[in-house]
Amino acid sequence: MRALGPGSVSSFLKVILDVVHWILLFSAAAASVGIVVVLLLSFKPELLGGAINIGGVHIKGAWLGPIAAATLLAGDLYLAGALVIVGRLRRIFQTLIIGDPFHPDNVRRLRMIGAALAVLELGRYAFAGVVRLFAHDLGLTKMASGGGVNLTTWFSVLVIVVLAEVFREGARLRGEAELTI
């Protein structure tokens, strides 16, 4: 089984990434529409069904609309970050399919993936911080328990940074090889 080139594992993974990309895109679009709808309906909370369930916590009353919209917005931002990552991964895998893994652009793409992953993780802390800030007043104490440091994510970020440097060196060697007669 080949790892690079057409009909290889890379090709198979690219198809999966394409599917994930479209799912994320539709989800982000749906969340964006949801934010607008929820904000419009927040003027009449009873139209939202009187209560919503977020993470096992029932929210009702005047805060229903804004909290639902904020949650959807956070989800939308998370999806946007995931889209950035998947989008760059798709382009990297495209270069793997054409058999050119050390394309100079892959260095920038890998760095972008690492940065997006770090921003998403920091965003998670920020979201958890905001939830904690308002948790007591809004009775969301159950939700305030999230936001712990995820070492796996930070380890992944570091691995991606190192991989980007490996690809930079590969791209440099490729450049040299191209001009070696």
Partner: protein, 80 residues
């Protein structure tokens, strides 16, 4: 880079075209052009040997060191 390839002069002296040399050496015309115009970053020993064989010369006839003015960088940096 202060290393110069004197392919032009050797071809002229041997009354040989770039196309003919490319055919004899087994290197594409595009690559020989890169070499001739001084854009090449490195040359393989095998290519150098083939060129010397076909041009009936020594490596020193083909490759020369011409230092530039002081302060000029000796090696171009590769684009990242």
């Amino acid at each position: 880079m202060p290393i110069r390839i004197r392919l032009d002069r050797l071809l002229l002296e041997r009354r040989m075209s770039l196309t003919e040399l490319a055919d004899r050496v087994g290197v594409t015309i595009a690559n020989l052009s890169i070499l001739k115009t001084g854009k090449a970053r490195a040359i393989r020993f095998s290519t150098l040997a083939s060129l010397c064989r076909e041009l009936e010369c020594q490596p020193g006839d083909l490759v020369v060191f011409e230092p530039g003015p002081p302060g000029e960088p000796e090696e171009d940096g590769l684009e990242e």
